[in-house]
Subunit: 277 residues, 2 copies
């Protein structure tokens, strides 16, 4: 048995698992998070995750942690395990009377390292089976795109199925537009064009989603961000899902349609399968 | 100095202020809360708060705590202070892979006693000044009405002003319907009819709101639950706000309109100013 002391949780730099019960993250979901892949003892797509966190801080009026401090803490968690998943939660900290934020808040940053995700390797090669969730995404431009801590919609959607053969569930907004998976973003390929739902009214703007779109641009593939419906899924040549931990998963079955991992999906999967920091 | 040991926080019955950082309340806002007034060492409107908590548990698939156990814990917190505010937070507890709830969750119940609210007494007698918030409420029928822990919209709305002369801010939904205050429900009186926004698409169905509606019915006052816009506020004879801690606050100024606490507001305020348990 390996008896090294493995640091796996840091709260404001201290090895502890205890959060103050009055933390606004717990009381109101007043905060943001990032989920990163650790590979070869390094956080993947670090600068992109950092940029999204800073953008979210700006939108919510949260104090962005010092980048060097944050990276030091990330490195502390990455040095003991070559592969894994790192989750960073940033909240407005404790205090404030009711909803009103305190005037001089001390943010809470929680970093947790989890073991590498144990998804079947076939998810990447053969693709996954996906369902459509009954739970809808609400519309709210003020929070759209952010990876904030108000995630009850995703919890309710993910609670809808327990069949392990189904890897993900797609969520529609309340008007019936397809937006994203419970934990992933969605792309479809139609007549050589890469299409993904716009996220101006709801949804999470994933770091891997942005990476795929940037990669497509480099490859000269036209990208269209806009409204997608169930009919667009049925008419798609290729469908795939993205997030920072899974990379790209081709979809092989969805609402009665079968797909095979297509050339564009495979091409993009190879292109993004690198660890940039 | 009084050196009695005053219990003010209980987590699953234990005197501690520490929440597990992996609690789903902190990670996702996966839970509910109730805010009660303590008066004469008793929780006000206990059965109504309990019923709402049970209803929320049903909607979110949370395990409702044993009612006797919960009341025992509430009484422990109420016995040391005659007056105060009691907040109950109930979450799905720790665990689960990502958003997916654990199969056999152990819920977390946090009970915190706060000092009695120090609002100016004139709020109840002369009324309050209210503003309209820029932050809009998103639309989501799946979560509408619930007092759940996803409260970023309220945090952003309450962060919009710091002028202590403004007691509350009203929030519109993304379509411009007036829904509620950041921490209160809204009623207007128009031609003898009591009107309050419907909460089927967003908003929190307050315990005091339900109590006011029930009281109005007893008094033979017609109640209309439906859509309200800014014009309805301008056309109102009386406007007031409700929540379990404040009871009823008449509105005396709002978007350029002045009101005086009217007879119906005064009547209802007296009627609900009793501690029912």
């Amino acid at each position: 048995m390996d008896v090294r002391h493995l640091v796996s949780t840091l709260i404001n730099g201290i090895e502890t698992c205890d959060i103050d019960a009055q933390d606004r993250g717990f009381q109101y979901g007043d905060g943001l998070f990032e989920t990163l892949r650790i590979r070869a003892n390094r956080p993947c797509l670090w600068s992109q995750h950092l940029a999204r966190l800073a953008h979210g801080c700006g939108r919510l009026g949260l104090l962005m942690p010092d980048e060097t401090l944050l990276r030091d803490e990330v490195d502390r968690l990455c040095r003991d395990e070559a592969d894994g998943v790192l989750k960073i939660v940033l909240t407005r900290g404790s205090g404030g009377r009711g909803y009103r934020p305190p005037e001089d808040p001390t943010p809470t940053r929680l970093l947790t390292r989890f073991p590498a995700a144990d998804y079947p390797p076939e998810n990447r090669t053969q693709g996954v089976v996906v369902r459509i969730c009954d739970t809808r995404l609400g519309l709210n431009p003020a929070l759209a795109g952010l990876k904030h801590l108000n995630r009850l919609e995703q919890v309710l959607a993910r609670a809808e199925w327990s069949d392990t053969d189904i890897a993900e569930g797609l969520m529609q907004d309340i008007e019936g537009n397809i937006i994203e998976g419970t934990m992933s973003n969605l792309f479809v390929v139609q007549a050589g064009i890469l299409r993904t739902p716009g996220l101006s009214r709801c949804g999470v703007a994933g770091v891997m989603r942005a990476r795929v779109m940037a990669e497509a641009e480099v490859l000269g593939i036209p990208v269209n961000e806009g409204r997608l419906g169930l009919r667009d899924l049925a008419a798609a040549d290729e469908v795939f899902l993205t997030n920072s931990v899974i990379g790209i998963w081709p979809v092989r079955q969805l609402v009665g349609c079968d797909y095979v991992p297509g050339p564009l999906t495979t091409h993009l999967a190879a292109a993004v399968d690198m660890c940039n920091d």
